[in-house]
Symmetry: C2
């Protein structure tokens, strides 16, 4: 790894070359490199914390001048208890995951002595753009090495000194291993990112982890696929047969556990038959946590009579735009959905239509005691993640048991939902024969056997 001042094209070409070398290394060579990186970072703790202190000092100054959000300052600080150890442990955790490369998922005997095999292989070169937290660089470098992908990294500018220190240590550590040094490169400036987005012959996939603006920018500019999501407009739908206490718990958690997260709920859809039975308790629970409710006419009229006067001050009128808004704050839009008299579960369809039209295809949840309703909801909603009686906040690579996460994808092709190591793999086909020709098969010739073989 190096903090490169090379041109975008030089960096990208070097990454591509490294990626092919990396793809041929056995599991042990990649794991050894991760051990080396771990040990080198542990040994260089003091130097890294000294560099981090410089970033911190600058950031504190900027925060005092009102130019930087104080929460960023806190996230920058690698000297907080446990932070450095967590970073080191993260490298060990990734190292100890099963090797995702070369997993065979299809074997077919096309004929005797002609065997087709499909197996996983790395994507090639990843361009990963991430936020300020300095420990993320170690995590992403580990993921890249483990998955045998070359990576070009661009971190937030507030962590510049920390990144320099960490990348220097990683670079020296890699020099003593079989993993090519250029497998992980760090770039310092945003203009290099823009140049890289045009180099589809070298960069195979872009993973922007950050603001909607950053993701949208990459989606517009990139000549290669972009993995990620610009918006996280998640919904929770309450069916009349839902458990009331459960509805309160799940709605409050989905909205307030971490309101700025992409998997926080932004619109609550309520069946009209639940307006009096379930919604008041849900609204009280949300208001108690400081949530402002932007209600459609029907839900507002109903809640106004059910809530206390104090609580009712937290009710606002929803505009059309509110149902297309990712608030990322303690604000929730509420909309009533109605059933036609003839079909008791048609209201699910109305909720589904709203979600498919206004949502961002990220995570949507249903609260109901009926499996039929839940299935209809999950089959109808066009999203990466569909949850039944659980908080939208569970949409997360760590919580899903993927060990780690490079992002959450709302793309329809390739990786979808939380993306772990497996999402950094693609597949390839290998065919082994003994001189067979296509002309040998077909009308008048041999027939294909297409025998399914054990993996």
């Amino acid at each position: 790894m190096s903090l490169t001042n090379a041109s975008a094209e030089d960096a990208a070409r070097a990454a591509k070359l490294s990626s092919r070398k990396l793809a041929t290394l056995p599991t042990s060579a990649r794991n050894d490199a991760l051990d080396a990186v771990h040990d080198a970072l542990a040994a260089a703790r003091d130097d890294i914390l000294t560099a981090n202190a410089k970033d911190l000092e600058l950031a504190q100054k900027s925060a005092k001048d009102g130019q930087l959000n104080p929460s960023i300052v806190k996230r920058l600080d690698l000297s907080r208890p446990g932070k450095f150890e967590d970073m080191l442990q993260g490298i060990k955790d990734v190292r100890n995951l099963e090797d995702p490369v070369g997993r065979v998922d299809l074997r077919t005997g096309l004929d005797d002595g002609l065997t087709l095999q499909r197996q996983t292989c790395p994507i090639g070169v990843l361009l990963i753009i991430f936020e300020a937290r300095p420990e993320v660089i170690a995590n992403i470098a580990s993921l890249a090495i483990k998955s045998a992908n070359a990576a070009i990294l661009k971190g937030g500018k507030e962590s510049t000194e920390s990144f320099k220190a960490i990348s220097t240590v990683i670079s020296k550590a890699l020099d003593k291993t079989d993993v090519p040094n250029d497998s992980v490169q760090m770039i310092a400036t945003r203009d290099v990112v823009d140049a890289l987005l045009g180099l589809s012959q070298y960069v195979d996939l872009v993973i922007p982890r950050g603001s909607n603006d950053l993701v949208s920018h990459c989606q517009r500019k990139a000549h290669m696929p972009v993995l990620g999501h610009a918006d996280g407009l998640c919904h929770l739908y309450i069916h009349p047969d839902a458990d009331k206490d459960m509805s309160v718990k799940v709605a409050v958690d989905s909205k307030t556990d971490y309101p700025a997260a992409c998997n926080a709920v932004e619109t609550l859809l309520v069946h009209e038959d639940a307006l009096k039975t379930i919604l008041p308790a849900v609204a009280s629970g949300l208001i108690a946590k400081g949530v402002t409710l932007k209600c459609d006419q029907q839900s507002k009229a109903s809640l106004s009579t059910e809530l206390s006067k104090d609580e009712a001050t937290k009710l606002e009128d929803a505009t059309d735009a509110d149902f297309n808004t990712e608030f990322l704050d303690l604000v929730l839009a509420i909309k009533t959905v109605s059933a036609t008299p003839s079909d008791p579960i048609a209201a699910v369809d109305a909720a589904i239509d709203h979600i498919n039209t206004h949502g961002s295809h990220h995570t949507d949840a249903v609260l109901t005691s009926s499996k039929e309703v839940a299935d209809r909801f999950c089959n109808g909603v066009d999203s990466a993640c569909k949850f039944w009686n659980a908080s939208t906040r569970f949409c997360d690579g760590m919580r899903f048991g993927f060990g780690t996460e490079v992002g959450i994808s709302t793309n329809k092709v390739h990786a979808r939902g939380p993306v772990g190591l497996e999402g950094l793999m693609i597949h390839e086909y290998r065919l082994v024969g003994n001189g067979q020709t296509a002309a040998m098969y077909g009308s008048g010739g041999k027939q294909y056997k297409h025998k399914k073989l054990p993996l």
Copy 2:
């Protein structure tokens, strides 16, 4: 299905709506629709052949005037013996494939009573642009219905009357089934295609099956992913330990079985130690089939002394551009690769570097009797398909045993290589709980179990 005159936006919106309905239909409903389509086409044979005869008459006239390739006229003719039956059988074959929807490939107990499941689901709306052959419309419509994807189809203009007749029959047949009529729509003009390429909110994936120009056009214009390949610049590398007879057979088949195919070989790479031992026989075999050889200096000098005078007239000097050219004809570029004395298999690396630099990441093959050489080749080459001792022509969905093929993808993400039904699937995550919240877990709270469950 309808031959729509709707605006691109109306057609795309209708397709999107249908796709959500289609996604909720059980296997039986989609299979019933395929049966209905099959039976209706069988019953309407005469009407369809009458319409086809009109296309044929026009095409024969154009061919006579020199405005249309006679091979296209032949491919248009649905009345050729067996052609109509093959079309009908193709629908039955697709109908009888295993349902690709809803296959569970991951189940994890995040905690007791909190179960995560990953399962396949359709992509949504496909825009498929294909060549003139009229029977392809029935094949693609079947694939779409079987895979629960809505499809908007655009066929070659030479088949207009046949398409009209076939789509009318399919449309009437679908009306009596649960599959929405708008699930398969046919568009008549190219300008509608261009408009659809901009509607990423409705169209999820574009599959252009046709000329390099068509694919490149879609790749440039589309706001959504494009599945396919513009080029098929495939390589064959001969190592000195390769079997001579096998080399001749495989090289001749790879080049001449169907030179216009994307999986035909375009560049032959030869180890310098094989120039005298293997290449002459290979060159003779190719020349006997009418292939012109564009050789680098070293191979030409060698072949000139080994071949007969007559044969040597088929040797030409290769230019740099020849090694970047998809000839799609009886022309083959030949290049010598050299080993450094210190490493007997370094020549494989030189071949790999050439392929990764000049190839199109489609299909590349190695001829060698050494597993070590073959593995090094397959690990190092950055292509969808890597073949050892077999013809590049085997890269094909039917030959791979996928039942059918919508195209061959050189994309690095999503489907890669020959794409069958499985490539028309993506996955989704479903989580079932009983009211769990994210706040219940983590420091001080419950721990995730991440128990691997049987599928």
